[in-house]
C-alpha cells in the first residue's frame, strides 16, 4: 500500500511534469540537428560507420517515432492523468461548495475586509440582496439566528480551466493515435487521362486499395512573369464501378476529400509525350490522342497523320511544340503551337482544328486521418482552457450582518484565486455601494 501511494505521489507530482516536459524539449533538439528518416548510408557518410551504428541503436534517425520518445510522451500522459485525478476532487469541492456554510471566523481573516458598525436594533430593515445586486453581484442569503449571511460568486467554473488545458493535451494525443492506427499517408502520380485504384504509402511504398477509382482529367500549371510557379491544379474525377461520382478541381491548399480519403496537390511531372485533340469543323467530331515525341500517329477514319517534330522547353516544361500534320495526299503542314493554342488546317476536302499540349502527371499526396477532427477539437479545448485559466478568476464575496451589544456589525469580505488587483478594484466599488446603503439608512433613521 505504501509503495502504491509513493508511486501515485510520484506520478502526480509537478516535478515529474517539469522533468518530462524538459526531457521532451531537450531530446527534440537532436532530431532538428541530425537529419531524420534517411537511409543508413547517409549517416555513414555524414558521420562514420561507428557513429552510424550508435545512432541506429538509439533510433536517432527516426527518433520521433522511437520507443523512448513514445515512452516520454506516455510518461507525460500518465503524469497528466494522475495529476488531474489527484487534484480534481478538491477543485470540484470548491466549485460546488456551500459557501454559506463557511466558518464565520474565516470571514474576518480574508484579504479584502471592510466593517461597518450600526446603532440599530431593526435587523431586517436593510435589503442587502438589493445592494449587492446593484453592484453586479447576485447573492443568496441565509439566516443564522439573529444574524444573516449573504454570499455571491463569479467565475467559479474558471477553476476548471487548467484541467481543460491538461485534458486537451490528452485529446490531441488521442486524435493522433486514432490517425496512426486507422489512417495512412501516401502518394501517387497519375498521368493525364489515366486513372488509378491504388496509392502507395509514405514511407514504405506499400500499395493501398482506395476502394474507388480516381482519374486525372487534366493538369494545369501557371507561372508568374518572373518564372515562379503561381498555381498547380488538377481536374479529378472519382468513379465507382465505372460511374462518375464527383468532379473537382484541386489546387495546393484546397484538396478533395472522398470517403474520408483526401487528395492534395503536391507535385507534378512533365513527360516527353503530348496530347493532341483534333476536331473536324463541319461535323464537330472530335478525338484526343496521346503520342510520344517525334512519333507519327494517325486517325485512320479521316485519313489524317500527325506528330510533334520539335519542341522548345525549359527543363521538363515544354513551352512550344512544332506540329506536323498531313491530311490525305495533301502536302504536309508544320506549325509552332503553344500549349492549348488552337490552329485550323484546311485540306482540300475538309477543315480541322487542332490543339496540342504536353502530357503531365499530377503528383498527389493522399491521406486518410480519421483522428484529425479530434486533434482540432483538442486544439480548440486548449485555447479555451488557456483563456479560462489566465483571464478568468473565481471571485467570492460574503456579507455578514451580526447583532452586537451596541447594535449591528456589517462585514464585507471576499477573495479571488487569481488577478487579485482587479478583484481589489471590484471590491472597492462594492464597498461604495454598501457605504451608500448605510448612509441612506442612517439618514432615514437618525
Amino acid at each position: 500500500m505504501k509503495l502504491i501511494n509513493q508511486l501515485w505521489a510520484f506520478f502526480a507530482s509537478v516535478q515529474l511534469a517539469i522533468f518530462t516536459l524538459g526531457s521532451i524539449a531537450l531530446t527534440s533538439i537532436i532530431g532538428t540537428i541530425i537529419p531524420q528518416g534517411k537511409p543508413n548510408d547517409f549517416y555513414v557518410d555524414y558521420f562514420d560507420a561507428k557513429t552510424a551504428i550508435f545512432l541506429q541503436i538509439l533510433d536517432i534517425p527516426t527518433m520521433y517515432s522511437s520507443w523512448w520518445f513514445y515512452g516520454l510522451l506516455g510518461l507525460l500522459c500518465t503524469n497528466l492523468i494522475i495529476c488531474s485525478l489527484e487534484r480534481l476532487p478538491a477543485v470540484w469541492r470548491i466549485i460546488t461548495a456551500d459557501n454559506l456554510a463557511i466558518p464565520l471566523e474565516r470571514i474576518e481573516k480574508m484579504n479584502s475586509l471592510r466593517q461597518w458598525s450600526l446603532r440599530t436594533e431593526e435587523v431586517d430593515s436593510i435589503d442587502w440582496q438589493e445592494t449587492l445586486k446593484s453592484g453586479g453581484w447576485r447573492c443568496e442569503t441565509r439566516k443564522l439566528g439573529d444574524s444573516s449571511l449573504s454570499f455571491s460568486q463569479k467565475g467559479r467554473w474558471s477553476r476548471l480551466g487548467v484541467y481543460i488545458v491538461h485534458t486537451s493535451i490528452l485529446v490531441i494525443f488521442f486524435g493522433a493515435i486514432i490517425g496512426y492506427f486507422f489512417g495512412f499517408k501516401g502518394s501517387v502520380m497519375i498521368p493525364e487521362l489515366r486513372s488509378t485504384e491504388k496509392i502507395f504509402t509514405n514511407p514504405g511504398s506499400i500499395p493501398i486499395e482506395l476502394g474507388f477509382t480516381i482519374r486525372c482529367n487534366s493538369f494545369g500549371l501557371e507561372f508568374y512573369d518572373n518564372g515562379m510557379p503561381k498555381e498547380y491544379n488538377s481536374s479529378l474525377t472519382i468513379l465507382e464501378n465505372g460511374k462518375e461520382i464527383l468532379n473537382e478541381i484541386i489546387k495546393v491548399n484546397s484538396p478533395l476529400t472522398y470517403k474520408g480519403i483526401t487528395f492534395y496537390q503536391s507535385s507534378y511531372q512533365g513527360h516527353q509525350e503530348f496530347l493532341i485533340e483534333i476536331t473536324e469543323a463541319s461535323t464537330g467530331e472530335s478525338r484526343q490522342f496521346s503520342l510520344p515525341f517525334q512519333q507519327q500517329i494517325s486517325w485512320d477514319d479521316k485519313n489524317l497523320r500527325f506528330g510533334i517534330i520539335n519542341v522548345e522547353a525549359v527543363g521538363q516544361r515544354v513551352l512550344r511544340s512544332k506540329v506536323w500534320f498531313k491530311a490525305g495526299d495533301d502536302p504536309a503542314i508544320t506549325q509552332w503551337l503553344t500549349n492549348n493554342e488552337i490552329v485550323s488546317f484546311t485540306s482540300v476536302e475538309k477543315k480541322y482544328s487542332l490543339k496540342s499540349k504536353q502530357l503531365y502527371s499530377t503528383g498527389l499526396q493522399v491521406a486518410k486521418d480519421p483522428g484529425v477532427w479530434i486533434v482540432y477539437f483538442g486544439c480548440g479545448l486548449l485555447l479555451l482552457g488557456l483563456y479560462m485559466a489566465f483571464f478568468l478568476s473565481h471571485k467570492r464575496i460574503w456579507l455578514y450582518q451580526q447583532v452586537t451589544a451596541k447594535g449591528m456589525l456589517i462585514s464585507l469580505a471576499g477573495s479571488a484565486n487569481k488577478n487579485k488587483l482587479a478583484f481589489v478594484q471590484a471590491f472597492t466599488r462594492l464597498e461604495g455601494f454598501v457605504d451608500q446603503t448605510i448612509r441612506r439608512y442612517n439618514n432615514k433613521n437618525p
Binding site: 509537478v14 511534469a17 517539469i18 516536459l21 524538459g22 521532451i24 524539449a25 527534440s28 533538439i29 532530431g31 532538428t32 540537428i33 537529419p35 531524420q36 520521433y64 493522433a176 499517408k185 508568374y224 518572373n226 515562379m228 510557379p229 503561381k230 498555381e231 498547380y232 489546387k251 495546393v252 491548399n253 484546397s254 484538396p255 483526401t262 492534395y264 496537390q265 503536391s266 499526396q365 493522399v366 491521406a367 486521418d369 484529425v372 486533434v375 482540432y376 486544439c379 486548449l382 485555447l383 488557456l386 483563456y387 489566465f390
Partner: protein, 284 residues
C-alpha cells in the same frame, strides 16, 4: 513616397526613440518621457503606413497579398508588434521606462531587415503553398506571441539590472528611481509570458491546420515545427515552475531571457542553420 522609404524612415525613428528612452534612463529626466512616447507613437504610425503601402503596392504589381510572407516582411511585422505591444503596456500601466528596453529590440529588428544582405526586400509573388488564409493567421498569431516574449525578455533584463543596482535597501540620499518596483516588473514579466504563451499556442495550431490543408499532415516534426514546440514547452515549464513551485524574481527573469533566445532560434536560427519545410523564410 514608397513603402521602402517609409520603412527606412521607421528604422531611424526607432533608433531615435531608443536614444530618447536611454537618455531618460540614464539622466532620469521624467519630462523627456512624454517626448519619447509621442515620438515612438509617431514612428509606429509611419511604420503602419509603410506596411499598408507595401500591401497596396503588391496589388499594384498584380500579385496582391498581405505583407507577411517572407523574411523581410515578417521581421518588419515583428518590430511593429513589439512596438504595438509595448505602447499598450505603457498605456495600461503608465510606466515609460520599459521603452528603454523594449524599443531597441524593434530598432534592431528593423535595422537587421533593412541592412542585412541575407534578406531580400523585394515584393515577390506567392508560390502555391503560401496562398492560404491559414498562413496569414499563422504568421500573425506567431508574431504577436514572439513580440510578447520579446517584451518579457526586455523586462527580464530590466529586472536583472535593477536587482543588481539595488544593494542598499535604504540609501542615505534618495535617488529618484524611474524603474518600477521589482515586484511590479516580476508580475508584468509573468503577464507578458502568459499572453505570449496563448498566442504561441494559437500560432502552432494555425500552422498545423495550414500544413494539413496543404500537405495532409498537421505535424511532421520538421525542424521549425519542432523548435516552436520546444519553445512552447519551455514556457510551459516556466509557467508551472512559477505557479506550482513558486519561482519568481531573478529565476523567472532569467527564464524570460532564455525563452526569448529559443524564440529567436525558432524564428531565425532554424531558417539559416537547419533545413526544413519553412525554407520560404530564408533569404532568396
Amino acid at each position: 513616397m514608397d513603402s521602402s522609404q517609409l520603412l527606412g524612415i521607421t528604422t531611424f525613428t526607432y533608433l531615435f526613440s531608443t536614444l530618447l528612452y536611454a537618455f531618460l534612463l540614464v539622466f532620469k529626466t521624467p519630462r523627456l518621457g512624454h517626448i519619447a512616447t509621442y515620438f515612438t507613437a509617431a514612428a509606429f504610425l509611419i511604420q503602419t503606413a509603410g506596411i499598408a503601402l507595401r500591401w497596396v503596392e503588391s496589388y499594384q504589381m498584380g500579385i496582391g497579398h498581405a505583407p507577411l510572407t517572407n523574411m523581410y516582411e515578417s521581421v518588419v511585422f515583428f518590430a511593429w508588434t513589439i512596438i504595438a505591444f509595448y505602447l499598450a503596456i505603457e498605456w495600461i500601466y503608465k510606466t515609460r521606462i520599459i521603452g528603454a528596453f523594449a524599443v531597441p529590440l524593434a530598432f534592431f529588428a528593423m535595422a537587421y531587415a533593412s541592412f542585412s544582405s541575407n534578406i531580400s526586400k523585394s515584393i515577390s509573388p506567392l508560390v502555391p503553398a503560401l496562398q492560404s488564409n491559414w498562413l496569414i493567421a499563422h504568421v500573425i498569431t506567431c508574431f504577436v506571441g514572439y513580440a510578447a516574449f520579446a517584451v518579457a525578455a526586455a523586462l527580464g533584463i530590466m529586472y536583472l539590472m535593477k536587482s543588481r543596482t539595488q544593494p542598499a535597501p535604504t540609501p542615505l540620499i534618495k535617488q529618484p528611481d524611474l524603474l518600477p518596483s521589482l515586484s511590479f516588473i516580476d508580475d508584468l514579466i509573468h503577464k507578458t509570458m502568459i499572453f505570449g504563451f496563448i498566442w504561441l499556442s494559437a500560432g502552432i495550431i494555425t500552422g498545423a491546420i495550414w500544413a494539413n490543408s496543404a500537405w495532409g499532415t498537421y505535424w511532421s516534426w520538421d525542424p521549425k515545427e519542432t523548435w516552436s514546440l520546444i519553445t512552447w514547452f519551455f514556457y510551459a515549464i516556466t509557467l508551472h515552475a512559477r505557479y506550482t513551485r513558486g519561482w519568481s524574481g531573478k529565476k523567472i527573469a532569467l527564464l524570460a531571457l532564455i525563452g526569448f533566445i529559443s524564440v529567436l532560434f525558432t524564428y531565425y536560427g532554424v531558417n539559416f542553420l537547419l533545413s526544413g519545410l519553412h525554407s520560404y523564410g530564408s533569404g532568396s
